[in-house]
């Protein structure tokens, strides 16, 4: 097991003009379930390859447990990886697949130790019944479980990288694999880095999440913190469905603008669709006009709708059990507004 430390690592592909990763520093604790979340092209895979030793950082150092592994090849870093599609040795049985990493590079484990280790992992992943089957003859779900098992089987594995491991799995059993992963991570206490573009996967798996965009880490924190208090507009926009609403300061009434100004002088105010209430309009409230309504379902006996509202030139979404019709003017009371500085915009809608 190991803590991982990335110190100011950056990476530029050979011949590329722009760096793929800007200098990144990151600490991941020993035994932590960590997640790297970002859209495709954000630099997730590059960062993963830097960790697994396929790529060497252009600048910066990588430390595993305070040992500088920057120049070490992947095989000497004591890590394992689970890929998007299950990678198995197809001519071997499931048990042989699980045992394989224990038999390479003159590993000193005895036969009995190997069998013991394989059966421990098989028990953990509940795949004991398929151990004797050919790796070719099992379902995709089972294959990915075996691939995870192979990643975990080495007792000296310090880090398991998971590269969108649920991509190939049917949606209906994704949650099962996710729960298995989470449980195994907790029980074995292995450091895991889970790379995904799927916010649900990242936020449910990880103790801490890093959100990546344009080769930078925008924010690192607990899922709760990243969701509730995004440090950048992109993070607020990227997480949640729909994402956070953003409004320029000047659509708010004067009294509110003064309150916001005391908290860091923001240019833009963001709030989540579920952290606002719709009431009668008043001079102390943000005011908007309802221009769409979509019924989401019922909660505690009341119909909950997602309202689209027009505030000045911007559109916002608010989830509310209140009942309004299109064209109604309503007051929007914000429970948890978050202020942003315009200069910190990153992602699709900024100048990069």
């Amino acid at each position: 097991m190991a803590g991982i430390r990335l110190h100011e690592i950056s990476f530029t592909y050979e011949g590329a003009r722009e760096p793929t990763l800007l200098p990144i520093s990151l600490d991941i604790n020993d035994g932590e379930a960590f997640s790297l979340l970002g859209a495709s092209g954000a630099g997730k895979t590059t960062l993963l390859n830097l960790l697994s030793g396929i790529l060497r950082p252009t600048k910066g150092r990588v430390f595993f447990d305070d040992v500088d592994v920057t120049e070490l090849p992947g095989r000497d870093r004591h890590l394992a990886q689970v890929f998007q599609f299950p990678v198995l040795y197809q001519s071997m049985s499931v048990a042989q697949n699980l045992a394989f990493p224990l038999t390479t590079r003159g590993a000193s484990l005895s036969r009995a130790d190997i069998l013991e280790r394989v059966s421990t992992i098989a028990r953990e992943l509940e795949i004991e019944s398929i151990l004797k089957r050919s790796a070719n003859a099992i379902s995709l779900f089972e294959k990915q479980l075996v691939a995870i098992g192979r990643a975990l089987v080495r007792p000296d594995v310090s880090l398991v990288l998971l590269d969108e491991p649920l991509t190939a799995v049917e949606p209906s059993i994704k949650w099962r694999l996710r729960q298995t992963l989470k449980r195994v991570q907790e029980e074995l206490g292995v450091t895991m880095i889970y790379v995904t573009h799927d916010q649900t996967e990242a936020l449910t798996f990880a103790e801490r999440v890093s959100v990546l965009a344009d080769g930078q880490i925008l924010q690192t924190g607990t899922p709760q913190a990243v969701y509730q208090n995004p440090a950048h507009q992109f993070v607020g926009h990227f997480l949640g469905s729909p994402g956070m609403n953003f409004l320029p300061l000047d659509v708010f009434p004067r009294s509110l603008q003064r309150t916001f100004a005391m908290d860091g002088d923001p240019d833009v105010i963001g709030f989540r669709p579920e952290s606002a209430q719709l009431t009668a309009p008043s001079a102390q409230l943000l005011v908007g006009m309802v221009d769409s309504q979509r019924i989401l379902g019922t909660a505690q006996g009341r119909v909950v709708s997602m309202y689209g509202l027009r505030c000045g030139n911007a559109q916002v979404f608010v989830r509310s059990p209140a009942s309004f019709a299109c064209g109604d003017e309503v007051g929007i009371a914000l429970n948890h507004p978050v202020g942003f500085r315009e200069a910190l915009r990153v992602g699709g809608d900024g100048p990069g």
Binding site: R75, V87, Y89, S134
Partner: protein, 290 residues
């Protein structure tokens, strides 16, 4: 019900042209050979039915047995060298860029040369009086003479076949290797697999399909080899490089022994079929077992 049947019959009309073409170009010529093989043909009008006489005679003919054993030896040597060599070449090839393209063109070149030209190239190349290879070897102190020494003739033939056909194996394996996902190599690297283990457990299982094709093609082709040894050694010295096809051609075209030659052809054909079938089913069975 009756309607269904009428439709079925019309469908036969649809495949009739194909059946006619196949019969005209394949079945009837083959059956003609089978027909010849059970007759003693003296001239166009005089022929006798002799049953399996020619088959019995061919299978007990020491010259046939010798040619057959030579053929087996040649095919075995060709496969034993070309398949591993092709794999080694394919694994060593760059996968991208100008160098990869140039190498592919270079590899494909021998495959584009007609058989008799290949024979002629090597016939001259290996000559001990004027050939580059022959003269060089002699200058280096080896008394190389493929027209007199059976071993030299064999080595020259093998070298020629390897020169001509290893590319085919290499190209097939190269195509097979490009279908191995990068993640598989990466996983093996992180698992600490040795180079041999990567080949054995990552590449070989995924090359199985193309290797079956490569072995079958090289087996059948080498078993039927005719033009190149005909041009290079003419079957000599003595009969030491006379393979089945050449013996057959001598019989059928040279001596016009149509009956025995036809029996020979049928046996020859059945052997190729048998070897290919044995190889294919054994590979496919091992697939099911694993």
């Amino acid at each position: 019900m009756a309607q269904d049947k009428a439709q079925d019959n019309r469908a036969w009309l649809g495949v009739l042209p194909v059946m006619l073409i196949v019969a005209f170009s394949g079945v009837i010529p083959l059956m003609t050979v089978v027909n010849y093989s059970v007759q003693d043909i003296l001239d166009f009008n005089t022929r006798f039915f002799v049953g399996f006489e020619w088959y019995r005679e061919t299978l007990t003919d020491p010259r046939f047995i010798d040619a057959f054993l030579r053929q087996l030896g040649f095919s075995a040597a060709v496969l034993a060298i070309e398949i591993p060599l092709g794999i080694v070449i394919a694994r060593g090839m760059p996968t991208q860029g100008l160098r990869a393209s140039l190498l592919l063109v270079l590899l494909a070149t021998p495959l584009l040369i007609p058989w008799n030209v290949v024979g002629t190239i090597w016939q001259i190349y290996a000559r001990s009086d004027i050939g580059l290879l022959g003269v060089t070897l002699n200058e280096m102190g080896f008394a190389f003479n493929y027209t007199a020494e059976p071993l030299h003739a064999w080595l020259t033939l093998l070298a020629m076949d390897i020169w001509h056909w290893t590319s085919l194996v290499a190209l097939l394996v190269f195509a097979g290797l490009t279908s191995v996902p990068a993640a598989c190599y990466q996983a093996a690297e992180l698992d600490g697999a040795s180079k041999w283990q990567v080949f054995r457990h990552v590449e070989l299982p995924r090359l199985k399909g193309v290797l079956v094709i490569a072995v079958l093609l090289r087996l059948m082709d080498s078993f039927m080899i005719y033009t190149e040894p005909f041009v290079l050694t003419g079957g000599g010295p003595g009969n030491t490089t006379t393979f089945l096809s050449q013996y057959l051609a001598t019989m059928a075209v040279g001596q016009f022994d149509l009956g025995p030659a036809a029996a020979f052809s049928v046996i020859y054909f059945l052997f190729i079929l048998l070897f290919s079938w044995l190889f294919y089913t054994s590979v496919m069975r091992s697939e099911e077992d694993s």
